[in-house]
Point group: C2
Chain length 142, copies 2
Amino acid sequence: MATSRTDPLTLEVIELIGSVVARYYEEYEQAAAAHSLTGAQARVLGLLSVEPLPMRRIAQKLKCEPSNVTGIVDRLEARGLVERRPDPADRRVKLAAPTERGAATAAQLRDALDFAREPLAGLSAADRTVLRDLLRRMLGSA
Amino acid sequence: MATSRTDPLTLEVIELIGSVVARYYEEYEQAAAAHSLTGAQARVLGLLSVEPLPMRRIAQKLKCEPSNVTGIVDRLEARGLVERRPDPADRRVKLAAPTERGAATAAQLRDALDFAREPLAGLSAADRTVLRDLLRRMLGSA
DNA sequence: TATTGTTATACTCTATAACTATA
DNA sequence: TATAGTTATAGAGTATAACAATA
C-alpha cells in the first residue's frame, strides 16, 4: 500500500477513476434534473422500475435510514410517479411501485444515462472486453 | 446509441462502471466520516490542501453556488481545520487555507482513500497500464 | 417482543435573491 | 457598474429517537 501511493502509474489510474466518477455523477444529476428530479428521487424511481419494493428494502439499497425513504417516496408520489400499495402477505409492509407515468419517466432516464455513458463508443468491442475484464477483477478483489 | 443500449457487452461495462462509482463514493464518505467530516467538507479540505483558494474558486471546483461555500468553510473553520486569510492583491477576496491540523487531516484522508482504492492491487503493472490507456481514451473522447 | 413504516427534530447541502465592501 | 463574499430563506437529504400498527 505504501508502494501504491508512490507508484505514479497507480496514482494516475486512481485519478482517472476519480474523473470517471465525477463525470458519471454529474451526468446522472443532469439527467435527473432534466425531469425535475433530484438524484435520490431518480435513483429510487430506477430501483422501483425494476420491481416494486417495501420501504425498508429501498433504504437498504440506498444505504440510508428508512425514515428518509418516507420523504423521498412522498415527493415521488405527490408528482404521480410512484404509488404505495399494501402487501397482501404482511399488513405492516407498504410496497412502493411506479405508476405508468413513473415507469415511462424511468425508461427515459435510463436511455438518457446510457447515452451519457456513451464515451464507451470510442472503444472497440475488443477494448470493451478488456475493460470489462479489468473492472470485474478490480471489483471482485475487494 | 440505439446499438449501445442493446449490446450486452456495453451494458455490462456500464453496470461495472456504476459499481465502481458506487464503491468509490461509499468509501469516500466513510473516509470522511472517520474524521467526522461530511463529503463536501472533505472535498473542500482536499482542494485547499493542494493550494489555498478564494471562496469563489472553491464554488467553481465544487460546481455549486458561492453562497454554499460560506457555510462549508465556516464549519471547517469552526473545527480549526481551515482559516480565511485576506488576499493582499484584492481586499474583496478571502483565501481559504488549511491550518496545520487541517493539512494533517487532509493527508490522512488522502492516504485512507488511496488505500480504499486499493482494489487496483489485484492488477499487475501491465494490467494497470492497459486500464489507464482505456480510461484515458474514454475520458478524452467526450 | 420484534418489525414496518411514520413522525418529529436537528443538521448539512443546495439554489435563489438581496445585501456589503471593495474594485 | 461590476465583482467577492455574505446573509436570509426555502427545499431536499441525512441520522436519531420515539411512536402506531402489525407480526
